[in-house]
């Protein structure tokens, strides 16, 4: 049995057990609009931009193969590519930051 810990609800500390699911809950990460991420795990088929290149909103920057589909991942904003974290053939997990774009 897990030990008793404390859980705060409405400014009151309750002595109680905390389970794995609670302790391993996903911490919230604010959305970074400049990041192009993999919405699904898969394989990088092509990277269409290089660092320093300027892109417009909606430009396809990476092609990600997953679930037998070639997904065209687009830049969410207009700006400059400051980081390319993947290359052709890389396998990526879900939620990985593939490209970072700095807004204008």
């Amino acid at each position: 049995m897990e030990e008793y810990k404390f859980l705060k609800i409405d400014d009151t500390l309750y002595k109680t057990r905390l389970n794995h699911k609670f302790l391993n809950r996903k911490k919230y990460q604010p959305v970074n609009p400049g990041a192009v991420t993999s919405f699904i795990p898969g394989t990088i088929i092509d990277v269409l931009v290089t660092e320093g290149q300027s892109v417009r909103e909606g430009d396809v920057v990476v092609i990600l193969d997953a679930m037998k589909m070639q997904n065209r991942l687009k830049s969410h904003l207009e700006g400059t590519v400051i980081k390319v974290n993947v290359k052709k053939g890389d396998r990526v997990p879900k939620g990985a930051v593939l490209i970072e774009v700095k807004p204008l």
């Binding site: 008793y4 859980l7 609800i9 409405d10 400014d11 009151t12 500390l13 309750y14 002595k15 109680t16 057990r17 905390l18 389970n19 699911k21 609670f22 809950r25 996903k26 919230y28 699904i40 795990p41 898969g42 394989t43 997953a66 679930m67 037998k68 396998r91 997990p93 879900k94």
Partner: protein, 514 residues
């Protein structure tokens, strides 16, 4: 002499079917700690009560050389029998015959016994042990699954339906258990998933073992798809027989009344709960302190443990218990515990089982993960189920009952028939610390000694509101009772509510926040 010859022929034919997939396949089945389908049925039902039908059903598939294959019973055994003397319909897939794969005749045997169960209004128990669709039979297998799912849905709320997962149950096949009322799993034997580890690996590149993906423990602790976890098959059958003893045959009956019995004396109800609302205890001890023989059958014991659900008897009558568990996450309501309680409440309501609710709830679990997982929608399920339920609803507020949690936990406002409160009850809009910090924010901030002022204000709030008497003064609580009076109050309330009659406005069905 002729008739004897014919009887001999019958027995020869029976023997062939009973041999199932043959000695080698049976040997393999047993080496995995599994019983054969027929052994399982006999272990589950009362001795010599099983009557088998459709023993000589055969498939007539032609493609892929299937016309040359004979499959005894087409891989499934169906029939009726009794558990504790009460009738049940049963099917058990036979993994030794073509991996228990589901072809059209296999499915028809199952749907036929399901139709019987529904027509005769008797519980249905399905033992699942199958590799999945019989691929050689193509779209006919899909027809088979669809017909089963449709019947599971039709029978829902009319007869109790139980699924026992004693082997693989993968792909579309998992939806039949998901549609039934209670799912039983056995450690290292049950495997349930929509897509298996191989597919996940090829498509997503994620590696996971079958056990970690969809084993008994995962479904009991993490996904919540299973309701009862057993270490071996025999323990599983004992659990099923026990559960069945609490249930009525169908939705027009009540559960059988047994000889009333006192709780065992080991539980001193007055000394389980501390009057400090932040201190933990095991709420199951409160349940055991008031029920017959202290015998409580917990459901989903390993899942969302911050709420406890299960069956017990009070004065010989079956009751469904719902209780916040201060021992786990302070007994908060959250996504998982709401789902767990709400479905149980609806089961009890469908099958004329009174609901007894023990309340000790600090509120809802705060967190981005909870909000983003839809705690609004999931939390609403508890409100919906309690409001909709017309069976006797008896509520005992043991200690804290704050805010939305108070309303949700079978409050008077959701039409509880009786609401009792212990003297330790605190029925308030929120806990004293939180309330004082809001109400006296200015005073605390302006004070020379804010900590001292805060402490005073919290004390002030506690004195005025942290009790059952404000709610009792409005009639939201019917009686404030001593802990030791609880069983007597429950016995009386169950007797008074025995023939409760209420009618809801006519409608086809509601639209609950699934």
């Amino acid at each position: 002499m002729t008739i004897e010859r014919k009887i001999n022929e019958l027995n020869e034919r029976r023997k062939k079917v009973i041999a199932g997939g043959g000695a080698e396949a049976v040997e393999k089945q047993k080496s995995m700690g599994k019983k054969t389908a027929r052994e399982r049925i006999h272990a589950l039902l009362d001795e010599n009560s099983f009557h088998e039908y459709d023993m000589f059903v055969e498939h007539d598939a032609r493609d892929f050389d299937m016309d040359k294959k004979k499959l005894p019973g087409d891989g499934v055994i169906t029939g009726t029998g009794t558990i504790n003397g009460a009738p049940v319909a049963v099917f058990a897939q036979d993994f030794t015959v073509a991996g228990g794969s589901l072809g059209i005749m296999h499915a028809r045997k199952i749907t036929k016994i399901m139709d019987y169960a529904l027509k005769m209004r008797i519980p249905l128990i399905g033992i699942n042990d199958s590799g999945g669709a019989r691929i050689q039979e193509g779209v006919n297998s899909l027809y088979g699954y669809g017909e089963i799912f449709f019947r599971n849905t039709l029978a829902s709320g009319i007869i109790p339906q139980i699924s026992v997962i004693l082997g693989p149950c993968a792909g579309g096949a998992v939806y039949s258990p998901a549609l039934t009322d209670f799912v039983f799993v056995v450690d290292k034997i049950s495997k349930m998933f929509i897509t298996g580890p191989e597919v996940i690996k090829t498509v997503l590149g994620e590696e996971i073992s079958m056990e970690d993906l969809g084993g008994a423990r995962v479904h009991s602790e993490v996904s919540g798809n299973a309701h009862f976890f057993a270490r071996n098959e025999d323990e599983c059958f004992t659990q099923i027989r026990k559960l069945m003893s609490f249930l009525p045959w169908n939705n027009t009956e009540k559960a059988r009344i047994t000889e009333p019995a006192e709780p065992v004396r080991d539980y001193d109800i007055q000394n389980i709960v501390s009057d400090d609302p932040t201190m933990p205890y095991d709420v199951r001890d409160i349940i055991r302190a008031v029920v017959d023989n202290s015998d409580f059958l917990e459901i989903q014991e390993l899942y969302a443990r911050n709420i406890v659900i299960g069956f017990a008897r009070v004065g010989g009558r079956t009751a469904g218990f719902v209780a916040n568990q201060p021992n786990e996450l302070a007994g908060v309501l959250d996504v998982d515990s709401s789902d767990k309680a709400a479905r149980f409440i609806r089961f009890c309501d469908a099958f004329n089982i009174p609901i007894i609710t023990f309340v000790d709830v600090p509120g809802y679990l705060p967190g981005v993960d909870q909000e983003h997982a839809g705690v609004i929608r999931h939390g609403a399920k508890i409100l919906y189920s309690y409001s909709e339920a017309t069976v006797p609803k008896i509520t005992v507020i043991l200690r804290k009952a704050y805010g939305g949690g108070y309303i949700a936990m079978a409050s008077r406002h959701l039409r509880a028939d009786f609401v009792f409160a212990w003297p330790t009850a605190e029925i308030a809009v929120m806990g004293p610390e939180g309330a004082a910090n809001i109400i006296f924010r200015k005073e605390i901030a302006a004070s020379e000694n804010p900590e001292e002022t805060r402490r005073k204000m919290v004390e002030e709030y506690k004195r005025k509101f942290a009790n059952p008497y404000v709610a009792a003064s409005r009639g939201y609580v019917d009686a404030v009772i001593e802990p030791r009076e609880t069983r007597e109050m429950l016995l009386h309330a169950l007797m008074i509510t025995e023939n409760k009659q209420v009618s809801l406005p006519p409608k086809k069905h509601g639209v609950p926040p699934f």
